[in-house]
Every structure is written in structure tokens, then in C-alpha cells.
């Protein structure tokens, strides 16, 4: 309901000003240059404009006048503050709450600086929740240790307003010196402690623009009452904040737990499925192969032969799904060793060579002569190369080029794999999704290849990304930090090259 009222108020003010503008233009035409005065409406607009520009100062001076001569000025300020205090009881956001407090305080009492400090249980000190009249960076740095002289004093004196000038006079030189440092840090002449049930939950520190500002007894009475309301709401907000944080942590650990349980379930499921499915697949594929490889005079019809070949191929595909799922869910449990990426790449290329020649795809490989061995599970590395290359072959379709580059970036100790193709590329809207599980644009594909690839790369602390131009091709880039750990002695026996590599490290 407040907004329409505000608009109405503005419209009314506008109308009054317009009327005043007209009146002024009529009464004082000599105020305007001669050429403008004869225009029927322009003088009114100009005068209205002048009034509009002058409105704020006029409003302020009227208010000031009323405050000074008709009301007691401080009562007005106090009423605003009590209104604020009422507002505070419904808001539970610590940031909004403290902003409200310091801004109202600063503006109503015409203060130079205000800071609201709340305890930070983790750091064992008080930090600034919000500040008025401070540079943001400066206020963020302020921290008041729990055992600082000021906070110790607050613990002793309880919820009483502390006045710097009076306090320092009543203390010994030594004590005054240490205490004044805390006041200086806060740029404060006054400190209002905020107490809830005898425990300090924060403090408001403020300094005045004028050195001779004084607050009288009734002010302090008011501060005390006011601080009670603020303290309670700050206390509530702190509790809410803490609860939110705990809730967040709980959700976080819960989702981690769910993820882990899910993976465990997937692994068991995948292992079960793989066993149950691979046996029938083995029978289907086996019988087809027996027919295909039959010896003797019986020659199969070409279409029968083709069908049998398809059966064998498709069973292999089906087995691939469960195998990938299992690989993904198992995590990295396979044995690791110093693997020659070049060798694995060549093995993978050999698998694809036949298909590539059929499709007239030219595959080139560029190898860094200084490429080090990579401490990894050879099966996982093979999976990465195979998935990248199968994707590239599929993307090219017929006639094109695939380039695989293996580089070693010595300065960062990174191994980089670049796999580029001249295929059809990935539409921009799909680029984010290619690594998602079960994402595929092909009917016959499962959509696990790049997902598994990403999982493996992550397992080695690496990163994978894709750059693609639809119609021109794609470039997959994998970066793997070279594993510098020296394998346990037992594994060194397995490969003669390890010692050489290890010495280099």
C-alpha cells in the first residue's frame, strides 16, 4: 500500500509546484528574458523547473524550521529510531538489518561514522557487519579481539553506553591509552554495547562530525532502550545466519553422501548387470560367430553373412555400455604405472585404421619428442584416446582429417592432448552438454564416451574442454598435470624404464 501513496504524494507535490511555477511566471515576468516571457507556456515550465530544483533544499529547510521551533529536534530523531526498532523485529537478514541500523543512526543523529560489529565465532573476534561513513575496504579490515580492552570493559560494565571522553578521564593513563586505541580503530566517540541475556551480541560504535557534540541523560536512557531492541533482532539474525550455514553444510555433506551411495549402487548394479548381460551376449555373439566361421563346403548367403556380422557387432556395443558404466562407477582402482602415451595412442590408432581408410579419413599424429611417461592406469588412458578418436571419426563421417597432438609444457609440467577434426562441429547450444552422461545426438550411440573421458581426466587432476565451430570441426583439449610421485618399489620392478624417469624427476 505504500507505493501508491508515495506516487500520489509525488504527483501532488508536482501539481503544487506547477501551480506555484505558473503563479510565479504570472507575477514576476521580469525574471525571465524578454523573448521567453511572451511564450504562453514556456515561462510556467521554466519556473516549475526552478522550483523542482529548489524543492529539496526548501523541503529540508522547512523541516529544519519545524523541528527547531515547533518540536524538540531530538524527539523527531528518536521517533524515527523507534520506528526503525519496530521494523527491525520483523527482519531476520543480518546484512539488511545492520545496514538499516547504521544508516538510520548516521543520518538521524548526523554522525560522521557508524559501525555495527557482531561476533565472529570462528575467528574469536568481532567483525564489522555494516558501516556508515566508512570506506568499504577500511571497514572490512576492522576486527576487535574478544580479549581487547574495549570488549573486556563491556563485559564488566554491561549494557551501558560508553562515552570516550568521560571514560578516558576516569582511567589511569596506562589504561586510558590502551582503551583509546580501540576507540580510534572504530573512529568512535561513543559505543553502545548490545546485550541479550547478559551476553554481548554486538556493539554500535559511532563518532560525531563535531567535536563538541553532547548527548544528555535522556538520550542515554533512549540509547539503552533502543539498544535492547536492536540487540534482540541482531541476536535473532545471527542465530538465523548460523542455522542457515549449518543447514547448508548439512545439505552439502548430505549430497556428497548421496553421490557416494549412488556411485556405490551404480557400481554394484553395473557389476551385476554386466555379469548377467554379458553371458547371454556371449552366447548370441558366439553362436553367430560359429556360423560365420564354419568350415567346410557350406557357404553362407551374403545377406545372412551380413546379418550375422551385425549381430556380432551389436552385441559388442551392448557389452560396451555396461563396461563403461562399470569403469565409471569403480573410480580409479586399476593399477597405475608409467605409461607411454605414444604407445597407447598408436595402439588405439591401429584399432581405428581400418575404419578410417574405408571412410577416407586421414589421421596424423604429432608428438613432442620430450613427451614424458604418464603415471596412470593404461586402460583408462586407452579409454580416453579411444573415445576422443571414435567421436572424431564419427564427426568427420566421410573424407576429412583428424590430428592428434601430444605436447609437454615444461614450464607448467603439463601434458597436453589435442584432438582436432574437420567434422561437422558441435552447435553452440550443445557445447555445454557434450560431457553430460547419456547426452548424444546419434540414435545408435549411448552418450557415455565423453562423460567417462571427463571422469578419467578429472581422476588425474586434469581438465578437458572443447572448442568447436559448426561446419568446420572440433578441437578437444586435455591437460594433465604430470604425476611426479615416484611409484612404490614393488611397481618399479614391473617396468625397466621407471628408474630412468624417476631420476629425471
Amino acid at each position: 500500500m505504500r507505493a501508491p501513496k508515495k506516487v500520489l504524494k509525488k504527483v501532488l507535490v508536482g501539481l503544487i509546484l506547477f501551480f506555484l511555477g505558473g503563479l510565479a511566471a504570472y507575477l514576476f515576468p521580469f525574471l525571465l528574458p524578454f523573448s521567453l516571457a511572451h511564450h504562453p507556456l514556456l515561462p510556467i515550465f521554466i519556473m516549475t523547473g526552478i522550483f523542482l530544483a529548489a524543492f529539496k533544499p526548501i523541503e529540508r529547510s522547512v523541516k529544519w524550521f519545524l523541528e527547531k521551533y515547533l518540536f524538540h529536534k531530538k524527539t523527531f530523531a528518536q521517533m524515527t529510531l523507534m520506528d526503525l526498532a519496530q521494523e527491525l523485529t520483523v527482519n531476520l537478514d543480518l546484512q539488511e538489518l545492520s545496514n538499516l541500523v547504521v544508516n538510520t543512526f548516521g543520518e538521524v543523529l548526523h554522525l560522521k561514522s557508524v559501525a555495527l560489529l557482531v561476533p565472529d565465532p570462528l575467528q574469536n573476534n568481532f567483525e564489522v557487519a555494516s558501516a556508515y561513513g566508512w570506506a568499504i575496504s577500511a571497514s572490512k579490515k576492522i576486527r576487535l579481539a574478544v580479549d581487547s580492552p574495549l570488549l573486556k570493559l563491556i563485559h564488566q560494565t554491561g549494557p551501558h553506553v560508553l562515552v570516550r571522553g568521560l571514560l578516558l578521564q576516569s582511567l589511569s593513563w596506562q589504561e586510558a591509552n590502551t582503551l583509546s586505541r580501540d576507540f580510534d580503530v572504530l573512529q568512535a566517540g561513543w559505543v553502545i554495547p548490545l546485550f541479550v541475556k547478559g551476553e554481548p551480541v554486538g556493539l554500535i560504535a559511532f563518532g560525531s562530525l563535531y567535536p563538541d557534540t553532547v548527548f544528555d541523560q535522556s538520550d542515554f536512557q533512549f540509547f539503552r532502550e533502543f539498544s535492547g531492541t536492536i540487540a534482540q533482532s541482531i541476536h535473532n539474525a545471527l542465530i538465523v545466519k548460523r542455522l542457515r550455514q549449518l543447514n547448508f553444510e548439512l545439505q552439502d555433506s548430505q549430497s556428497q553422501w548421496i553421490q557416494k551411495t549412488k556411485l556405490n549402487a551404480i557400481e554394484q548394479l553395473a557389476a551385476g548387470i554386466a555379469h548377467e548381460i554379458h553371458n547371454p551376449l556371449a552366447i548370441i555373439s558366439g553362436k553367430a560367430q560359429v556360423l560365420l566361421m564354419q568350415k567346410g563346403p557350406k557357404q553362407l548367403e551374403p545377406n545372412v553373412q551380413e546379418s550375422l556380422n551385425t549381430i556380432v557387432k551389436q552385441t559388442r556395443r551392448a557389452a560396451d555400455i555396461t563396461r563403461k558404466l562399470l569403469l565409471y562407477s569403480q573410480g580409479s582402482r586399476g593399477p597405475r604405472d608409467w605409461v607411454s602415451l605414444e604407445k597407447v595412442l598408436d595402439e588405439t590408432l591401429a584399432l581405428l585404421a581400418y575404419q578410417a581408410t574405408l571412410d577416407q579419413i586421414e589421421i596424423t599424429r604429432n608428438l613432442d619428442p620430450e613427451l614424458p611417461r604418464f603415471y596412470s592406469n593404461v586402460q583408462e588412458v586407452r579409454e580416453v584416446f579411444l573415445n576422443l578418436l571414435l567421436n572424431a571419426v564419427e564427426a568427420v563421417g566421410k573424407e576429412g582429417r583428424i590430428t592428434v597432438e601430444l605436447k609437454y609444457r615444461r614450464e607448467d609440467d603439463l601434458i597436453e592432448i589435442f584432438c582436432s577434426d574437420t567434422g561437422r562441429g558441435i552447435p553452440p547450444e550443445h557445447v555445454d552438454k557434450v560431457f553430460n552422461p547419456f547426452f548424444t545426438t546419434r540414435h545408435e550411440a549411448v552418450g557415455l564416451g565423453l562423460f567417462v573421458t571427463k571422469q578419467i581426466v578429472h581422476r588425474y587432476g586434469g581438465a578437458i574442454r572443447v572448442e568447436s565451430q559448426p561446419g568446420e570441426g572440433s578441437l578437444f583439449i586435455i591437460q594433465l598435470p604430470r604425476q611426479t610421485e615416484i611409484p612404490p618399489a614393488a611397481e618399479i620392478k614391473n617396468s625397466g624404464t621407471v628408474e630412468v624417469t624417476a631420476q629425471k624427476v
Binding site: A271, A274, H275, H278, N279, L281, A282, I283, I284, S285, G286, K287, Q289, V290, M293, Q294, K295, T315, R316, A319, T322, R323, L326, Q330, R333, G334, P335, Q379
Partner: protein, 124 residues
């Protein structure tokens, strides 16, 4: 005569492998459990054993261990439905000569079995 023992709890698998290898002049015996396999190894005295890892009762790894104790010379090729690294490692440690995964490539299997036979012939 080349002698091959096929061990798998799936009778169908035993059967098509049997017909496949018999076609290629092997003498083939089959077993559907680990215990059965141990009996057959003793009676049939095969050159090569195709041994499934996952079987109820005495599984492939258990059977492999027993076979290795009494017949160190016989060649054993493990067959597995699932490529679990730890099982495969365990099998290799127990003295398996190779492993293949299901679904099987008969072309590869034939070559591998023949290799083992040739190896035995060379030693003898």
C-alpha cells in the same frame, strides 16, 4: 590330439564353444562348475583350460589355484564377464596364462588357444 576343457556355468556357452573347437579338430570336454572342472582336469588331462571366473560354488579363481597346485603345466585362459581389475590381477598372480572378456571374439580365442598349444609342443 589337442585337448581343450571348457568350464562355464552357462551350458549354452560350453556348447557353442565345444562345437566351434571340435570343428577345428580339438578334443573337447566341458564342465559347469569349479568342482566339475577339477575332476575333468584329472580325468581328461587337457592341454588348455578355458575357465570362467564367476561361477557358483568353487569359482574360477579357486579352481585355478587347485589346478596350479597339481597340474602346473596345463595352460589356463581365464574368461570373465566383467573386467574387474582386481579379479584379473588375482588370476594373473595365481598363474593364469591369459584372460579374455565376454562377449568373446572367437577369432582371437582360437588364435590364443592355438598359441598355447604350440607353446606346449615346443616345450615337449
Amino acid at each position: 590330439m589337442k585337448k581343450l576343457l571348457i568350464v562355464d556355468d552357462e551350458v549354452e556357452i560350453c556348447e557353442f564353444l565345444k562345437s566351434f573347437f571340435e570343428d577345428r579338430d580339438f578334443k573337447v570336454a566341458t564342465a559347469v562348475s569349479g568342482e566339475d572342472a577339477l575332476r575333468q582336469v584329472a580325468v581328461f588331462q587337457p592341454h588348455v583350460v578355458l575357465l570362467d571366473i564367476q561361477m557358483p560354488g568353487l569359482d574360477g579363481l579357486g579352481a585355478l589355484k587347485k589346478i596350479r597346485e597339481s597340474y602346473p603345466k596345463v595352460k589356463v585362459i581365464m574368461v570373465t564377464a566383467v573386467e574387474t581389475q582386481d579379479k584379473i590381477e588375482e588370476a594373473m598372480r595365481l598363474g593364469a596364462d591369459n584372460y579374455i572378456t565376454k562377449p568373446l571374439s572367437l577369432e582371437y580365442l582360437e588364435k590364443d588357444v592355438q598359441d598355447k598349444i604350440d607353446l606346449l609342443a615346443k616345450i615337449a
